[in-house]
């Protein structure tokens, strides 16, 4: 069934940017697409038609809601309802997740979460891929690629996990290679018949990417994201829509900024590092609670903050202490990176929501100029943003060059 496709005569170079605009919700109509791309209506029309022919977007000639504006209504652009998906997976301290994520960051299907993490990365990754295969079979969707979020720095270009402490993997585990091999063994193939490519990235990095494209980071040019999951603190920077991972993928390892010169010594050799001053364990300790083994540290800290912040002075004091420490760390990052927006995740999000004024005041006071101090600090807004970010990795080749990535032309 070799379907004859009309050859694209114009807008080839605008194909990727156009898809990215629809993907991030910045091009609801063809008229907006024309303006955003800076091309003629003819080119935008060809681009939209080609993306529709590729099965990626839908072009609705008949707009349902009358907008009330003058002139001929523009065609509406949306994500194709049964288009291809990316396989997204996340390994975390308490298990793993897998899902299928379409364009626009929409989760199409989710696998029941698994709650055990064997120390062997190959086993976990095989299990993740198996869950993905099941989802693909159940939904019958095409797969454009796969992304894996891990709680560890991922070295580039090797794709190895450098410090996967939370999942007790050996340092330097070749996660991307394991992932790609597992995908190939499972027979997950793209439209071109080749096994899909597997990507891997740090969970906080991917969360930042997802928030930039579909969440609270929209439109930011220099987006800083800081989050704490179970232990330690992670950071990420999205510059002009691209993850900044440094020359070897190791950037934004923000856990060892000094935020309390008189604080306890850290294993890194310094003292009072952000890692041990502003994570869930630090919060529980500061509030005088003994962490229990039943649920995750993050969950315990969250519950404590939500339930006793208003009533227990020790919890309030612990909250303020962590806000001050976190604020100091953020101020240091503001001085170095000068972001135009900051997004907080994990327990840091709860700290921000508990007392946003205090955190903003600390950052403003300790960063060097009031102007930088005025940087907006927002909570993250997406559920499972690391998972969505993992899908972004897989979608990226399609966003960069749809024709090449889908093996057409």
């Amino acid at each position: 069934m070799t379907q004859t496709r009309t050859r694209l005569e114009r807008g080839r170079s605008a194909l990727g940017p156009a898809l990215a605009l629809v993907h991030t919700g910045r091009a609801p109509t063809r008229a907006v697409l024309t303006a955003e791309l800076g091309v003629t209506r003819a080119t935008a029309g060809a681009v939209a038609a080609e993306l529709e022919a590729l099965g990626l977007i839908r072009v609705d000639s008949r707009p349902l809601g009358a907008a009330g504006a003058q002139g001929r209504p523009s065609h509406r652009l949306s994500i194709a309802p049964h288009g291809p998906v990316a396989l997204a997976a996340q390994v975390h301290a308490d298990g793993f997740r897998a899902a299928l994520v379409g364009l626009g960051g929409q989760t199409v299907a989710t696998a029941p979460g698994c709650m055990t993490v064997p120390a062997d990365p190959a086993h976990v990754i095989d299990a993740v891929v198996e869950a993905g295969v099941r989802l693909l079979r159940e939904t019958g969707r095409r797969c454009v690629g796969a992304g894996l979020a891990v709680p560890s720095a991922v070295a580039e270009p090797e794709g190895t996990a450098l410090n996967p402490l939370h999942v007790a993997w050996p340092a330097g585990a070749p996660v991307r290679e394991l992932f790609s091999r597992s995908l190939a063994a499972a027979g997950i193939r793209g439209d071109d018949g080749e096994p899909v490519t597997g990507f891997a990235g740090n969970d906080v990095n991917l969360a930042a990417l997802a928030e930039h494209r579909h969440g609270a980071g929209g439109g930011a040019q220099h987006l800083l994201c800081v989050a704490t999951g179970h232990r330690g603190v992670g950071g990420a920077l999205v510059l002009d829509g691209r993850l900044h991972t440094g020359s070897a993928g190791l950037a934004l390892e923000v856990g060892h900024l000094t935020v309390n010169p008189e604080g306890p010594p850290c294993h890194c050799g310094s003292r009072g590092c952000l890692d041990i001053e502003a994570d869930p364990l630090a919060f529980l300790t500061a509030a005088g609670r003994e962490p229990g083994p039943e649920v995750s540290l993050l969950q315990q800290a969250r519950d404590l903050l939500r339930e006793e912040y208003a009533t227990a002075p020790s919890v309030r004091a612990a909250t303020e202490q962590l806000i001050d420490r976190l604020g100091l760390g953020l101020a240091g990052l503001v001085n170095i990176l000068n972001p135009d927006r900051i997004i907080l995740g994990g327990l840091h999000r709860e700290l921000l929501e508990a007392d946003p004024e205090r955190l903003r005041a600390v950052v403003a006071e300790r960063s060097l100029w009031g102007r930088s101090g005025g940087v907006p600090i927002l909570p993250c807004t997406l559920d499972h943003n690391s998972l969505v970010g993992a899908a972004e990795l897989a979608w990226q080749p399609v966003l960069d060059d749809p024709l090449a990535a889908l093996g057409v032309g």
Copy 2:
């Protein structure tokens, strides 16, 4: 004298990249240019001819040195000997400098340095421009633009100096506007008859840019530059050949990284900041010397280090102390930025050269992974690199789009 130029039929988009290659010495011949641009020989030929017609480069059909290689020798590319120049200026704690800098970072003419800095920025800038006018008149060169290096963070997009403490200017002085107005008043005009554009930037930022293009930073993708001049410590980051100045020009304010948790309090509210632990005054103090008023602190520290490092134990101890502090700061930056090269300037350069092994060991030990610790740390290699970097600012529009910048076509 409207000279009839043959219209450029190909290679228009490659014009800027081609000029950048010649500018940075990466395209010595037309054959190399062809390979680096990834275009056909015909296109590269048209590009080289166009740049020659613009008076920017020279194409030598007759190669002087026979390379001994087989085949037809390629035409040699070099900077046009009497081409246009950029006006470069630098204001520092002890006075100002002005020079004309051609493509390739070559200083064409230098004004005698002036050694007084009135507190009024308008006066200094007028004096700088006056020196530039004299140089332009003496040499008869065309001027493509002007750049000014100041010892202060420069806010973008306003072009205001935020903390010009060393020159006793008022905070927020609109240096770029003063510079541009002074240039226009002095009648410095480009080929198109319009007054040339004036740019302003932080001196360390511009030094980093110059080192990346013409010095020790060549080829680095993520270049970190740290330097100390008279007081305090400055930093800069060059990402993929472009200065990274953050969202408002305030990035890389590295002076307030904590490098000595037990150190003295800093005016920023923290203690043991890099600013007060690793600048020339800190060195003199650590060596037990009283700074004198006769020459600059930098000069005193340099002289002391050069002359007494080998003989005076106190100087050696002070050197090691500052190396350890600086190393800690660099390690923090490595953890956040993950550069692939570090260049040190000012007194930090001397510290590196006094004991390179110690500094590298400290950075490797305190940055999180040995791989990052293995980042090369080099001394800067250019004389007056801030001045050359100021010229780079002025050259940038020409490097981006030669035809548009020179008002042709």
